[in-house]
Amino acid sequence: MIHLKNGLPDGKYPTYSRGEKAALFIPCYIDQFFPQIAEAVAAILKKLGIPVVFPEGQTCCGQPAFNSGYWEEAARVVRHFCDVFRPYQYIVCPSGSCTAMCRVFFEQVDPDDRIVSVGRRVFELSEFLVNIVGVADLGARFPHKVTMHSGCHGRRELGILDQPLTLLQNVKDLVYCELPNIEECCGFGGTFSVKMPGTSIAMGETKAANILQSGADVVTSLDISCLMHVGGILRRNPQMRHIRPMHIAEILVQR
């Protein structure tokens, strides 16, 4: 992997000072279907002594409409997002994909500085921990064989790959299993998964086979959306059913 860009104008992360608040941005599907991930994020931040707030006005980052071409509709949601999060310096999100929407694509929806500047304060959980707070060891223990699926938006738009691997390396008793063809898309792709279901499922099946080949019994990722898709395939297959999809925050919070 070369030249990973983090989507910030000067490439530099801000430095966190003790006591500064972190505002949680919890993507809608996590809020509704995987609340335990958001709870884990809050617990991780609390353990580090970071005051956590959850602005209750929040809804969605606008990505589904944006990726479907409906930028005008997305813009209304983006503006709402920015109104809600404008007061906060650090907006922490447990998803590479939603973070990429905020940091990279808000600019295309509405180049107004009041929009773009909010988007650029959104950080994916692992980069917030490693690059901004400066921790690598969260004191977690997880005695399992784990492989990691690296979500495309997080890696290609935000340059996130080493951060989650570093965090996982420091988890006690965790055995990391290399994932063959880690750079390949899992086939989720938001609305792509239902617009081209055949191709999406074929891609997911390849990913599932690679996960099985890794020998892991847990597959983790920064993006539970990818895992929702791949996990849905794993659960359909009797040989793969034992492999548990878990968001990285769920592992980092284990004692």
Partner: protein, 489 residues
């Protein structure tokens, strides 16, 4: 004489009667070969320590060239003419074909040998020539096979990627009455035997151009089989057809592009042959046709402009997980894969090709491998935005209504909760439905739905949020707080 699904309107991705994107499954041979090439070529590229600098540099040269196209093309014409070439301009495929037919008439051409050229595929040149009784023979091995089979290329660099050696053996047995074999060497021998004499018999050679050099007025053609060299030098007339975007300012930059193209395209450090054609050789006639064919439409759109930097290496095709699984014909026109999905809508119009930008999971692999750093994934989304806002097969009042309702629901937490409760209820009930309609069915075709938890995070936060607020700024590493709790996975 064409294979099923090759015309734009009939192509699997574009078929009108198809509500979504029909999904053909390309042959396994294609998927595996594309994956193998992609990995091998990538390794060769990344073994160059300054690969990234090369990409940046090439991007900058192309950017300059495209922004100065008006001057560079005229400079190229002047210098090429000074070297004895005849330069002809064509606004569209039709005009370019007329030029070719004029040349055919002037030189009384009966047979043509062609080296590989995608731009002549845009023009459907072979059919145009056939219509006036001129036999045009493809001499690139892959193109030769595809032509023999009555098909079209499935890839821009390796046109017969979909054919296995066994397929080729059967093809030769059927069309050339050769004894069946699937041995690579024997197959190559057969092709060579059949092609060799054609070069000497042909009245005219047609080629494309990989690069046009403004300062010297020359064109550059790269190849591996020697067929291009023969096609452009054996017959008395040579016609080179090039898109307007091929020109670069100077021969000084050529090595950069040769390095990038060979590595990204075929994993070679350099192609076997590199021809630089400096004007006409005495006693021979050399024509250069410069074709627009929709390219200035790309030029007009700043967000799409960098797609004109493309050097047609095919790296984005090989790496694309969608292309690998559907094959090239699915895209319906000359340029398949991610690059096709961004240039075809411009070159043939949104009305016909508006669905193409949606044939992607937006994974971004194409942008990562592109040797001239075209931001393909971002352009895909840009074109989706364009497509839903202009006459195109994806413009749909119903979908617009759905997204409008969605954005209304996402503009306030109360509406959000209402909308989301409906979704949760739907997912819960889906289990009991005997069949799943539309998008739900598309999901459950191969995947389980997620379990719906008993509570949402925001409900949980309302009860527990206070514990996380920190103690008015004096929070250090606060391990003192109750340790219990958290996620039982």
């Amino acid at each position: 004489m064409t294979s099923p699904g090759l015309h734009l309107s009939g192509a699997p991705f574009l078929r009108k009667e198809n509500k979504g994107l029909a999904e053909p499954r390309g042959p396994r041979a294609l998927c595996e070969s594309a994956e193998r090439s992609s990995k091998q070529n990538r390794q060769v590229c990344l073994s160059v320590p300054y690969w990234e600098q090369w990409r940046e540099e090439a991007h900058a040269v192309k950017r300059f060239s495209i922004l100065n196209l008006d001057k560079l093309l005229v400079e190229f014409e002047r210098n090429a003419t000074a070297r004895g070439a005849v330069v002809l301009w064509a606004k569209d495929a039709e005009e370019a074909n007329r030029h070719v037919l004029d040349i055919v008439e002037r030189h009384r051409v009966k047979t043509v040998v062609k080296s590989k050229s995608m731009v002549t595929e845009e023009m459907e040149l072979n059919h145009v020539l056939a219509a006036v009784g001129v036999r045009a023979l493809e001499t690139d091995l892959g193109e030769y096979l595809v032509q023999l089979a009555g098909q079209r290329p499935t890839h821009i660099v390796t046109p017969a990627l979909h054919l296995s050696a066994e397929d080729v053996g059967r093809l030769f047995a059927e069309k050339l009455q050769e004894p069946y074999t699937s041995e690579h060497e024997k197959l190559t021998d057969i092709a060579r035997r059949h092609l060799r004499e054609e070069y000497l018999r042909a009245d005219m050679g047609i080629s494309g151009a990989n690069c046009a050099l403004a300062d010297t007025g020359s064109i550059c053609i790269v190849e591996n089989e020697g067929n291009a060299g023969l096609s452009i030098s054996a017959p008395p007339v040579h016609v080179a057809v090039m898109g307007i975007e091929k020109v670069i300012p100077s021969i000084r930059y050529l090595p950069l592009f040769l390095n990038l193209l060979a590595r990204s395209g075929t994993g070679q450090k350099l192609t076997t042959y590199t021809h630089i054609v400096h004007g006409a050789t005495p006693g021979r006639t050399f024509y250069i046709i410069i074709l627009d064919n929709g390219r200035s439409d790309i030029l007009r759109d700043p967000a799409s402009r960098s797609s004109l930097y493309c050097i047609r290496c095919g790296a984005c095709l090989n790496t694309c997980p969608v292309y690998r699984r559907t094959g090239g014909w699915a895209y319906g026109w000359v340029y398949p894969g991610p690059i096709g999905a961004i240039i075809t809508p411009h070159l043939v119009g949104m009305k016909d090709a508006g669905k193409l930008p949606f044939a992607s999971s937006l994974c971004g692999a194409c942008g990562e491998v592109c040797p001239v750093k075209i931001d393909i994934p971002h352009q895909l989304v840009h074109l989706r935005h364009k497509a839903v806002n202009c006459p195109s097969p994806v413009r749909s009042p119903l979908e617009r209504l759905i997204w409008t309702a969605w954005s209304w629901a996402m503009e306030g937490p109360l509406r959000y909760r209402l909308a989301m409760s409906t979704v949760r209820l739907g997912v819960r009930l889906a289990k009991f439905l005997p069949w799943h309609p539309a998008q739900l069915g598309a999901w459950t075709r191969g995947r389980e739905l997620p379990e719906v938890p008993a509570y949402t995070f925001r409900a949980w936060w309302r009860r527990r949020g206070q514990e996380f607020a920190g103690d008015n700024g004096k929070s250090g590493i606060a391990t003192s707080s109750p340790k219990k709790e958290e996620v039982s996975a």
